[in-house]
Subunit: 409 residues, 2 copies
């Protein structure tokens, strides 16, 4: 899964040590060195402040860890327009890098007014901590309807990211160069993105990919299990539960801990289908990956107001294969895994005996866990399954406690 010129040790390196600028330039470093932090923080104290939301902070991490390189901060208008219209940015040297999602910071009228003609602003986390500086700022209009239409291909209500952080956001965007004070010590390079618990079908796909890469002549392909750590919609399994589940999958030996690195991708989830899958792939290129497995309907969801998929399930793969700036990415064909009721395990789907296969969707899996029903043997390792069952039990207890509270008042 890795660029052979950029081998990954089986230890857990800092992600920054494996960052590659798309143009082959220097490593990204937007994080202020430890000995300069006091002075910077002091400087920031005197600046106009921008209060960040939780998701804004996720983007601060995304930018300062280099996932969005060569972007060095929140987008100014020229970058925003290129991202919106071309899904890519043209560099000064004429090269094109893929950039399909606008990475922007919204502010309201009052904040804009308080900034006035300042050149730099301090960034304040929801807990009140000063976490960074945005320099050489540019403020421009936040045309929300257009941003939504061009990113999601619809303006229907019910898009999770839109409702969470665009609808109620301010009418202005502020761009500039970011300096983050803290280094979060992100911990790996990676290649398999997921926002769901790992079942044995995923594992089959990952292990089979390793086998194929060995066959292709790679000496030490590392499996990079890469859960998305930013915003997800309410009915997705939360990150901490997923991380615990992933640990069990490694403990139970479904994935080999010697050749697997688990890392968190700090980006918030847009559910923007073909537009977002480009971002997911681009961020992995920045981290040194040059193989990318893409499945059916990546970053997709149901249409928020109609009974259909929001995106054509094949468009993600197609758009990815043609995207400007992603020419060097090798897209690995995705093989469909399903539960083989004869062999009693997850296996690659064999159309010649389709009646033997059972497709267990994410929704179906969650229903099993919620109702306490066991999935078929061999669907998921017992340790991992237990984590899920406990999570849904805790949800039910919470719900019942809430009901009881309502009844007793």
């Amino acid at each position: 899964m890795l660029d052979s010129s950029n081998p990954v040790e089986s230890s857990i390196p800092s992600i920054k040590s494996s960052l590659i600028e798309p143009d082959g330039g220097a490593l990204v470093d937007l994080v202020v060195p430890e000995n300069e932090r006091g002075a910077k923080a002091l400087e920031a104290e005197s600046m106009s402040k921008v209060r960040l939301t939780k998701i804004d902070v996720e983007w601060v991490h995304v930018i300062s860890e280099g996932w969005a390189s060569p972007l060095r901060g929140f987008m100014r208008e020229n970058e925003y327009l290129q991202s919106l219209h071309f899904n890519s940015l043209r560099m000064a040297d004429g090269t094109v890098v893929n950039m399909s999602l606008p990475i922007v910071l919204a502010i309201d009228d009052k904040t804009k007014e308080s900034i006035g003609s300042s050149k730099n602003v301090g960034l304040v986390a929801p807990d009140g901590d000063l976490i960074g500086i945005l320099r050489s700022i540019e403020i421009y209009k936040h045309k929300k309807e257009e941003r939504i239409a061009r990113t999601w291909g619809t303006t229907a209500p019910g898009l999770p990211y839109v409702e969470e952080c665009i609808t109620s956001a301010g009418n202005w965007l502020i761009g500039g160069d970011l300096e983050e004070f803290d280094n979060r010590q992100a911990d790996a390079v990676f290649a398999f993105q997921l926002r769901n618990p790992v079942h044995n079908g995923h594992a089959l796909l990952m292990n089979d990919t390793r086998r194929r890469l060995l066959e292709m002549g790679y000496k030490n392909p590392i499996l990079l299990l890469h859960p998305l750590g930013g915003f997800t919609k309410a009915d997705d399994v939360p990150l901490d539960v997923r991380m615990e589940q992933h640990s069990k999958v490694l403990e139970d030996g479904v994935l080999d801990p010697k050749t697997t690195i688990v890392s968190i991708f700090p980006s918030p989830m847009h559910y923007a289908g073909p537009t977002e899958v480009q971002w997911h792939a681009k961020a992995r290129i920045n981290a040194g990956a040059n193989f990318y497995i893409v499945g059916r309907d990546p970053a997709g969801m149901g249409h928020p107001t109609e009974k259909r998929d929001l995106y054509d399930p094949d468009h993600g793969k197609k758009v990815l294969s043609m995207a400007p700036g992603l020419e060097k990415l090798n897209i690995l064909p995705f093989r469909v895994a399903a539960y083989d009721t004869v062999a009693k395990k997850m296996a690659f789907f064999d159309p010649s005996r389709s009646q033997d296969f059972l497709f267990i969707s994410g929704t179906k899996m969650r229903t099993y866990a919620r109702t306490g029903e066991n999935p078929p043997d061999g669907f998921m390792c017992p340790g991992g399954w237990k984590v899920l069952v406990q999570y849904y039990e805790s949800l039910q207890i919470e719900e019942e406690t809430e009901k009881a509270t309502v009844l007793s008042t």
Copy 2:
């Protein structure tokens, strides 16, 4: 306004004689030679048929005249997706050409069924004439909501092109290589696009541009007056009236007939702002232009349901200056012309004495013509103005006749 390596005679050449492939390749020729037309028409008779709308026929002309080169027909899905997401197409040799509007042909379920597994289809104009063949066809889904959102940046009702030819169109798109039977003898290369009557402010801008190009060392810059000939919204002045008005402007000497060519751009109007202005520029590059004048809010309109401009008036110019595949285009800064009430003529706006200037919008101009009121002296040449007044008088007579008919029944 022209590529100096591609001089235009002051005679009226066939547009095809000046077509340049963006990659410097061979001239486009999608029109069947005269001596082969009988055989082709006979062949098409035996094929499944696709019935075209008036606007589909406009696109047949656009494609076969080479404006959309290197596109050789209606888009297949790969081209459609690239256009929708990247506003550009990647060629086999890795070069990128700008292609911001999807150029597609919609068919309904019944037509799709009648085509079955045919490889080629005959194209039938609204009047029943067989006008061409689409070869090696591909049929794919017409996801209208996504197409609209990604092209216009809104899904609000009231977008003229959408209402005219997307809403009621079929649920499938059919792509393939086009062969058109008839050559329409399109008549020029060009560079100044407009869909309105020419007033003296336009003329000032065009004549001033010629002067500047002479200063830049060009020996024979040709003014290319280039009215849009395809679909326009109901309250725009129709093409035939505009053509008559343009003739008067040349007769009256406001523009010099010796250095001016009038040509029709057959494309239908999308009113898609920053997305469409790329198409307008790209088509001109195909015809040999390498200078492009872009004004405020190109291809813009009011938001269909809200009281504001649909696009940021500056985004057209900005997006154009950064668009993939348009790197070689020189964008000429647009100078604002207005009526100088002191000099009693159209002049470049001078902010130091702004109180002397009167801005006469297209809407204002139409109101003058409709009410029979004369605009200030020097706004438009008398011959051209008369054409407009007569057009609006004829509309009024029509309206009154309709009213009378209603009253008498």
